[in-house]
């Protein structure tokens, strides 16, 4: 659970700093007024840490997919920010890539759990809650991330609604994350 705990802590810090910047934007120096880089960083950390966690599960440790998907994603991040996008702007391409990578990993985990012959009851495993939460969050937000700017330009009202959908899905993901940490701690105490 270490990657999940690191993600929760770093995610909380990044979100708090981003919110504080948006509140006190005017009283901050110019170079500190942009919080988009924090959202981009949060997205990259989410993929790396939660991808690391899913890969570390016994279920898909040896799979070919887990070996190359994260390096390919990191390569994409580097190429994207060097050649195509500025990290100071919210990168919808990056968020969409995040959705694809994490969705593939989560779906791969869920399908592997169905094929698993061991005695593990994956429904009661903390990873199940994390993957379901992540799957739900990424599935809901993939199209929102993909068409974020065109949506705001064409239909502002719907664009604002999608932001509410994004927030609700993130809250659900966080609740499931908290439940999985609680379950993991309970399992550890029982052992």
């Amino acid at each position: 659970m270490r990657p999940v705990i690191i993600y929760v802590i770093t995610g909380l810090i990044l979100n708090l700093v981003a919110i504080l910047i948006s509140i006190y934007r005017l009283s901050l120096p110019d170079f500190l007024q942009n919080n988009n880089i924090l959202y981009n960083l949060h997205s990259v950390l989410r993929v790396i840490l939660l991808g690391w966690y899913i890969n570390s599960l016994q279920l898909i440790r040896l799979s070919w997919l887990s070996k190359f998907i994260l390096p390919v994603y990191l390569l994409f991040v580097v190429v994207n920010f060097i050649f195509w996008e500025n990290p100071l702007f919210l990168s919808t391409r990056l968020l969409s890539a995040e959705s694809i990578v994490l969705l593939i990993l989560c779906l791969f985990f869920l399908i592997s759990s169905m094929r698993d012959d061991s005695d593990t009851n994956w429904l009661k495993h903390p990873s199940f809650l994390i993957c379901i939460g992540l799957c739900f969050y990424e599935a809901v937000n993939f199209f929102i991330f993909l068409f974020f700017y065109p949506l705001l330009e064409n239909n502002l009202q719907f664009g604002m609604l999608t932001m509410k959908i994004f927030s609700v899905s993130y809250i659900i993901f966080c609740i499931l994350l908290a439940l999985s940490l609680y379950r993991s701690r309970k399992d550890l105490a029982a052992a």
């Binding site: 779906l107 759990s113 199940f128 379901i132 799957c135 599935a139 993909l146 068409f147």
Partner: protein, 268 residues
């Protein structure tokens, strides 16, 4: 609604549908696997019980066969030998031969008694004819005869079983436990009591010596020298009962709970 709004709405809907479908498939699959696992565990337990039952039954058959051989063949030969020995006229013997004759007769009587004892121990006719309580009382009297051990029994006479095989198993457990007390506990007194509680027979063996706790029993029954304890555990499994070793203030207690079929009305 313009194209992008439509595309995003449909996209979110499709993705959600996909996630929900996979989630339901995982839950269904896991439930099916759990059911299969439970069924397999049950089957494994059933097979294990059948093996234990076969082992216990074959042990009983073998005991019966040995008891019969000892009683009918060895016992008969010894009795015949005694008759032949008694046929010797003592008057015709000198002092030295008389002493040898007396010693031989004494030893022969001892052997006959011992063979009879072993035979009865291996296969108790009392158990068959008078039931579990009488067999336990007789066994306790026999093992404590000529010792300073103070043994008491307080057995519930309402107990009457319909399955004699269960009685044999309960009797064997009591035999093994009492023998262990006599061998290892250094006790000066022990008590065997039973209470018939509805469809359950609660048997308690108490002694004031050095006994076993539940942890020690769990540990010892897997050891080679703990064969008696393993047999006790096998019989408990066979009877679908439970056994608990408890250390009390004044001694040690073995509580055995066995579900039984009785003719006793339940409201009594």
């Amino acid at each position: 609604m313009n194209d992008i709004t439509y595309l995003v709405s449909v996209g979110i809907g499709v993705m959600l549908l996909m996630v929900v479908s996979i989630l339901l498939a995982v839950i269904y699959n896991q439930k099916k696997k759990t059911q299969h696992r439970i069924a397999m565990d049950k089957l494994r337990e059933q097979q294990q019980n059948q093996l234990i039952e076969a082992a216990v039954r074959s042990e009983e058959i073998e005991r019966h066969r040995i008891a019969e051989t000892l009683h009918d063949e060895v016992g008969a030969i010894l009795s015949s030998a005694k008759l032949h020995l008694l046929g010797i006229k003592e008057d015709s013997l000198d002092e030295k031969d008389k002493k040898l004759y007396e010693k031989g007769r004494e030893l022969l009587n001892d052997v006959i008694q011992k063979v009879r004892g072993i035979s009865h121990n291996l296969h108790s006719n009392i158990l068959k004819e008078f039931g579990l309580n009488e067999a336990i009382r007789h066994f306790v009297r026999k093992v404590t005869q000529g010792t300073i051990m103070n043994a008491t029994t307080a057995l519930d006479d309402n107990y009457k079983t319909e399955n004699p095989d269960d009685d044999i198993s309960i009797y064997r457990m009591v035999q093994e436990l009492v023998n262990n007390i006599l061998k290892y506990a250094n006790a000066s007194e022990f008590m065997i009591s039973s209470v018939l509680d509805g469809k359950e027979l609660n048997l308690v063996i108490f002694h004031n010596g050095d006994g076993l706790t539940q942890e020690q029993f769990e540990e010892l029954r897997y050891q080679k020298e703990g064969l008696g304890l393993k047999n006790i555990q096998n019989r408990v499994i066979l009877l679908k009962g439970t056994i608990h070793f408890v250390k009390g203030g004044e001694g040690y207690r073995v509580n055995i709970h066995v579900p039984v079929k009785t003719n006793q009305p339940e409201n009594e």
